[in-house]
Amino acid sequence: MALVEISEMERHYVMASETVKALDGINLSINKGERIILLGPSGSGKTTLLNCVAALDNPTSGEYKFEGQEVPRGHSEQMTSFRRDNIGYVFQFFNLLQDLTVLENILLIQELSSGRDKKRAVELLSLVGLEKEVDRFPAEISGGQQQRVAIARSLAKSPKLLLGDELTGNLDSATSTKVMEVLVKACEAEEITVIMVTHDESLANYATRVIRLDSGKIISDEKVDN
């Protein structure tokens, strides 16, 4: 059974003068363990698709099943609960909590979901190569390190699917490479499926599948050998 099963998904935004079809009949099936890169120009619908997959946004129509179950729509708490149980999310600007140390950023997410597990939090930081930075504040480490903390944080509650929106968009290429290597390693170790939105074609090197979107439609979907 596929992890994600999407059929005829549409997302319309009603503007003053027109209705914009951000997603226009998306059909997509994602299996466990895949690492997918969503590529496309600005306004192609890739972030909207990511938001719908994350249950942050409600599709206007179409079906979305996760592990064979219908994903909740229109009910904020049920959608949050779905994200908590299944989704990890990595932001472009890291969004670490500045008042908490690196370790505490991970512990916080554990406390707010399944429960505090310090040993696992330290393991995750080791997995992303930051075992020596546990007591530092985010502002005391580099951007690349912060993004690695964000990856560790997103893995803290053992999600089945990790989503990233331009997660290397704020990093230089050397740092991006390092972050992506860490991400691949971590997700392989934790057996986590990954969907990343990016403009950066070079990230295809870390993917097992590349999907291209334009005008809300999938224009190509190809598996790659990585």
Binding site: A54, G88, E104
Partner: protein, 790 residues
């Protein structure tokens, strides 16, 4: 909030001006009472016509040292008495009173302001006529033409009411030594002709027990509320008067100036205190408004940082950035001031004056002038303007590059705080650290909450202490039910009445006690039994603060003094001092200090005091048996005080003050709500990104709500405790500036008012949790995620 500050300033200012004007009209105005400058009081008896005339002649002729000249010396008879008042039901009630027998009335006349609805009629002209005090007339709904049945220890006499007015000694209408406005129907005063009172008291013609001395001009007298002696010249004259009076009559006399008339001094102190207070009230509220504006401007600048950075990048100079942020508070201040002025003039001031007029029963006129409005608005605008300076300066100093990189918002959390909270769950650590992220803002918020709590907290503490003093001191600790006054030597009739009616009794002797080289006086109490609250089997029980009870018949005489006396004249346990009993210096040893007395008090064993003054008893305390009444007592006493009436007066005062209490409480709460909401909403809005991140990562609402609840609870409790501490010490400071020789009280830290204040602030703080949760719920996560990606 600026409007609230200006509103409160004008309201309190109108009250202060009204009281000052009233004081001036009564005592110094053309239609005033021509208040005496010096009183000579026969403490135990009356003078006959020739003695009082001789005394006045001697005073007019024999004063040589002083430059002050006596313009008038008028004998006056003032006696305690009773009114037999019949209710509609026909039941007769005994009401304690004071009767004035006025001969010439050139000095200390009855005040009957013509333009006031509270007075009417004319002065008494025959021996069966009386002018009733307006307070009593209104309270008992007695009108001109009605007949009153009065007594003064020698049977009942009938008098016709021909006028309703006021008297300087009863402007503040309270029973002797009680300091609380008497409840309607519990106290009465009336002003007759001299022959009218002589008829009532069965005294010979020309009897008097006061000499009212009017001095040319208005000499300054020593104000009790100040440390310096403003009345040196008058004091010197009073010393001369004392010598002359003592050498021309055998009765012990006390001599005092206006400071010795409680009613006068209380009104003056009230006017004085109100005049000093209202600019501070305005200033305090304006500071709270200023802090709120300051914090809001800081937040505004933070949210406009990018726009400011763009302007700076485009070459706009720093000095062009500042004016906008300086004008904003001025604009807010002006609108607030206009609104506050309108509300103050048309609602606050009239309501305050009406309430005050109702409370003290005096005609008080509107006191809002242009000067007052200018003063209040200036105070408010200056403080509000100052609040904009720092935010404006901060705005002009923003570095564009730092803003574009987002560095201006990044603040490294405190390592110390992290260590302290590192063992706590991360949710609690986050709550603590994010709350303390802006310590200056939090400190300002707590300061502003403290100020707003001070406004009504002071009232809570004062009412609590007064209640403690009255209800604890009188209702619970005192074992007497009725205090009867008797002429010295006439106590046998009351004792006989008590024995015939199975009423427990205790004789008591009160006598004014003077201080050496000091015009101030204390009330000396000679008690039959001296006992403390803990082993209180006496009728009048003493609350001993320090020391022990005096031994009887030892030399020097052992005495107790009240806490206020100890503070004002710096007498302490173990001190041996000299006091004046009449004109005789007596050595005494202070063995204990009592608490709970509003007036200055000295306690003796009755037999010790009797030996000094040569009389045995001036009053008798009675303890009635269960269901006992005082039928027949009126025929054998010259006046009485019923304990239940005192308690009723206090309860009535509390009731009358409820409206003001609720209004001030509401004002304080509104301000505290505004301040706390402002800061906590700023805290929440600054954490939008954090909270959105947590929501995207799957944090459930109930856990975020719980986190927020504990955070607000913590801030509420800390803010409440600080507010209560602020209110307590503020009230203590305020009271210490109000207390004076004739009025002393202490503020005790009472647990209920503290819990009340903490509870209110905590409640306000916690009430923000649902609003915070609602904000999170309404958050458009898609938009937030977009923001997070830009």
């Amino acid at each position: 909030m600026v409007a609230v500050g200006v509103f409160a300033g004008i309201t309190f200012g109108a009250y202060a001006n009204g009281v000052v004007n009233l004081y001036g009209e009564i005592y110094d105005g053309d239609d005033g009472v021509n208040l005496p400058d010096v009183w000579v009081e026969n403490s135990i008896s009356t003078w006959n016509d020739s003695t009082s005339e001789n005394l006045c002649n001697s005073l007019s002729n024999e004063i040589v040292e002083s430059d002050l000249t006596i313009q008038n010396c008028e004998p006056r008879l003032i006696l305690r008495g009773l009114m037999y008042h019949s209710e509609n039901s026909g039941e007769e009630e005994l009401i304690p009173g004071v009767w004035h027998g006025i001969d010439e009335g050139e000095v200390d006349s009855v005040w009957m302001p013509t333009e006031s609805e509270l007075s009417s009629g004319r002065l008494a002209a025959t021996e069966t006529e009386i002018v009733l005090d307006s307070h009593a007339a209104l309270g008992m709904e007695i009108e001109i033409g009605e007949t009153l049945v009065l007594g003064a220890g020698h049977g009942k006499k009938h008098y016709t009411v021909v006028g309703i007015g006021f008297h300087s000694q009863h402007m503040y209408f309270s029973q002797e030594g009680l300091m609380l406005p008497a409840d309607p129907g519990t106290y009465v005063t009336g002003y007759m002709t001299d022959t009218g009172l002589e008829r009532l008291a069965n005294l010979e013609s020309g009897s008097s027990n006061r000499l009212l001395i009017d001095i040319t001009g208005t000499p300054d007298y020593d104000l009790q509320s100040t440390d310096e002696n403003e009345g040196e010249e008058l004091n010197a004259l009073m010393s001369e008067i004392e010598i002359i009076v003592n050498s021309n009559n055998d009765d012990p006399s006390s001599i005092y100036d206006r400071s010795g008339i409680e009613s006068v001094e209380f009104l003056r102190a009230d006017a004085d205190g109100a005049g000093k207070t209202f600019p501070y009230v305005t200033g305090m509220l304006a500071i709270v408004a200023g802090i709120t504006i300051f914090l809001s401007l800081q937040r505004l600048i933070q949210s406009q940082a990018r726009e400011i950075a763009v302007l700076r990048t485009l070459g706009i100079p720093k000095k062009s950035i500042m004016p906008g942020y300086l004008i904003a508070p001025l604009f807010i201040g002006t609108i607030g001031s206009v609104l506050g002025t309108i509300l103050g003039i048309y609602f606050g001031a009239p309501a305050m004056l009406e309430m005050y007029s109702d409370l003290i029963g005096l005609p008080i006129s509107m006191g809002v002038g242009f000067d007052l409005v200018v003063e209040i608005v200036t105070i408010a605008l200056v403080i509000v303007m100052l609040s904009g300076i720092r935010p404006a300066w901060q705005a002009s100093r923003l570095q564009p590059l730092e803003v574009f990189r987002g560095y201006h918002e990044v603040k490294l959390s405190s390592r110390g705080l992290q260590k302290v909270t590192s063992k706590l769950p991360a949710t609690i650590g986050l709550s603590v650290r994010s709350s303390l992220r802006k310590p200056v803002r939090l400190a300002f918020t707590f300061f502003a909450v403290g100020l707003s709590m001070l406004i009504f907290g002071s009232m809570v503490f004062m009412m609590g202490s007064m209640e403690d003093m009255m209800m604890g001191g009188v209702e619970e600790n005192q074992n007497w039910d009725v205090l009867t006054y008797v002429y010295p030597g006439d106590e046998g009739a009351v004792i006989e009445w008590a024995e015939n009616n199975s009423v427990e009794y205790e004789p008591m002797l009160t006598f004014p006690i003077g201080l050496q080289n000091d015009t101030r006086e204390l009330q000396g109490y000679g008690l039959e039994k001296l006992s403390t609250v803990d082993d209180g089997d006496a009728m009048m029980v003493i609350e001993l603060k320090d020391g022990s009870l005096p031994l009887q018949g030892v030399s020097p005489l052992q005495i107790l003094i009240d806490e206020g006396t100890s503070i004002f004249i710096e007498w302490n346990i173990g001190d041996k001092q000299t006091v004046m009993v009449g004109s005789t210096p007596i050595d005494v040893e202070i063995v204990g200090i009592t608490k709970g007395e509003i007036s200055r008090t000295m306690y003796f064993h009755r037999s010790d005091l009797a030996q000094l003054v040569g009389i045995e008893t001036t009053s008798i305390l009675l303890q009635l048996p269960e269901g006992g009444d005082i039928g027949g007592l009126a025929d054998v006493t010259i006046g009485l005080v019923i304990k239940q009436d005192m308690i009723q007066s206090f309860e009535s005062l509390l009731e009358k003050q409820q409206e003001m209490y609720i209004a001030v409480e509401g004002l304080g709460i509104i301000i505290a709500v505004a301040v706390l909401f402002n800061t906590l909403l700023m805290n929440l809005s600054e954490r939008d990104t954090e909270l959105a991140t947590l929501r995207v990562l799957g944090a459930p609402m109930n856990k975020l709500g719980t986190m927020m609840f504990w955070e607000h609870l913590g801030i509420g409790i800390i803010g409440g405790v600080l507010g209560a501490i602020f209110a307590y010490f503020g009230t203590v400071a305020m009271i210490s500036s109000f207390v004076q020789w004739s009025f002393f009280m202490t503020i005790k830290p009472q647990i209920l008012p503290v819990l009340y204040l903490v509870g209110i602030v905590t409640f306000i703080s916690i009430a923000l949790t649902p609003i915070g949760m609602w904000r999170i719920k309404k958050m458009d996560l898609v938009e937030k995620v977009k923001d997070l990606s830009q």
